[in-house]
Symmetry: C2
Subunit: 290 residues, 2 copies
């Protein structure tokens, strides 16, 4: 595995690999790798000739009061992990190389942001879209891998690729969970021991709502309230939201059909955690509107 | 030459050509081709294995009071001309295929628009950047060709490519002129006969200013005023602006060094015309500030 720090060097390598007819799988990350990332890399390894992983904590997607400075970082351990799961090129650029100047062109995400984390994290998805598009241009991937845990991010990326005709296949990969159901996240390290114990309640709340929907419940507002109550009683966190929406549009569910996301965000003392389940419904019972 | 109307078909062709190791030269146009476009195509023909030309009158870059509806169109003649200058693929998409939905992600140009045409044509360069990036994604060119006549557009494209790390070489091609100096433009057909006769005054005014700069004049504000006076006296048009700026930054000239653009826009009865000269100065005399 080769570690690359300069954008120009990456471009040269990508150019050569493409010229040689190699397919490229790309796994963008912010590092502090865990099993979720490794699952992405392993799937990329299976499906492509060359695997590029990027590690870049993108300042553009953090708000002024968010955790950019203290976002966890461990480049040495990351390098070992990336190597062990078959990454060919690990791209770890500097902020200066990614953003040498005030950008002349910025991206604004107009859809799928007026819900879930988009409501609280103003500009977050603009920053995500910008860095992802830059990274796509640098790596020219055939396929790019994103975790479904960041379901709104994935929905925004689908929108980005469609709107701008980016020539890449987006692969959404299932969330990897701890044995007790807690979604793997780089931010889990910030949970206090008693918080960690209660955190599986997030996935439990989502699972209960899913089961009810699958069993024929059509009152999505009642399900939402039940999930919020459950989280208040069991998670030990402040509940930011629970939403049940169409996916990937992230609009109110009027009929239980096609893809539906049940998503939650909660705030622990030092960590804001998100999780979701996405389900595909047959049939089409009308819902009580939210 | 193959005429292509569907985005999906273009993508297939580009995919195949790239796979076969062919280099792609791309010439984006709005059609109603004239010698300026042909010069772009011929240069692309010389420098690439495959030449793609697009003809698309992009509604996104026209303001509500601009000439989108009556922008001149002649697809049959364009097809003949494109064929004659060695274009391999002529891409003529529909508006619905280019913009099937309200876009989820939009581009905003933050630099180089606060001058020249950008002041009067709000949102114009956002529309240009969006369509050009979409077309780049569809055609995946090694080189893309733009006329220097639309100098601000070219400056914005340089900014777009730099900011978003687009993997393409932008080639700026010299303005093609009529024998009397008038820059070739699709909009010239809308000049009344007496306007056409006076229109070479635009290039004359710019040339006089260039000569004065090259002869050592450093008072750019005086040159600007002289050019405006000349245009008022000789062009038979309403003068929208004359500006002397750094290029491609489009900022006030403080020293006569590096690249400088002298640009003008005038309004005839049925046609707004622009023109410019770009010069590279040695030395570095301080200028009277504008």
């Amino acid at each position: 595995m080769k570690v690359i720090r300069a954008v120009a060097q990456l471009r040269d390598i990508v150019h050569t690999e493409k010229k040689n007819g190699q397919t490229i799988g790309f796994v963008p990350t912010m590092g502090f790798l865990h099993e979720g990332h490794i699952t992405l890399a392993k799937q990329a390894r299976k499906e492509n000739d060359v695997v590029i992983m990027s590690i870049f904590v993108n300042p553009l997607q953090f708000g002024p009061n968010e955790d950019y400075e203290r976002y966890p970082r461990d480049p040495e351990h990351d390098t070992e992990l990336a190597k062990s799961c078959g990454v060919d090129y690990l791209f770890m650029p500097s902020v200066d190389d990614m953003y040498p100047d005030e950008p002349a062109v910025v991206l604004t995400v107009k859809k799928r942001t007026n819900a879930l984390c988009g409501l609280k994290r103003e500009g977050h998805f603009d920053g995500v879209a910008t860095v992802v598009l830059k990274l796509f241009h640098m790596t020219e991937p055939d396929k790019a891998y994103f975790g479904k845990k960041d379901a709104q991010q994935l929905a925004v990326i689908y929108g980005l690729v469609d709107s701008l005709n980016v020539s890449v296949t987006i692969v959404g990969v299932d969330t990897v969970r701890e044995k007790d159901g807690l979604a793997k996240s780089s931010r889990n390290v910030y949970l206090l021991p008693e918080e960690r114990e209660k955190a599986p309640a997030i996935y439990n709340a989502l699972s209960h709502a899913r089961e009810a929907l699958e069993a024929g419940e059509i009152n999505v507002e009642r399900l939402r309230e039940q999930a919020i109550d459950y989280l208040r009683d069991h998670s030990g966190a402040e509940v930011e939201y629970v939403e049940i929406l169409s996916y990937p549009e992230l609009e109110p569910v009027r009929k239980v059909e096609r893809m539906i996301i049940i998503a939650a965000a909660v705030q622990y003392k030092n960590a804001r955690l998100i999780d979701n389940v996405i389900l595909t419904m047959e049939g089409g019972a009308s819902c009580f509107e939210q």
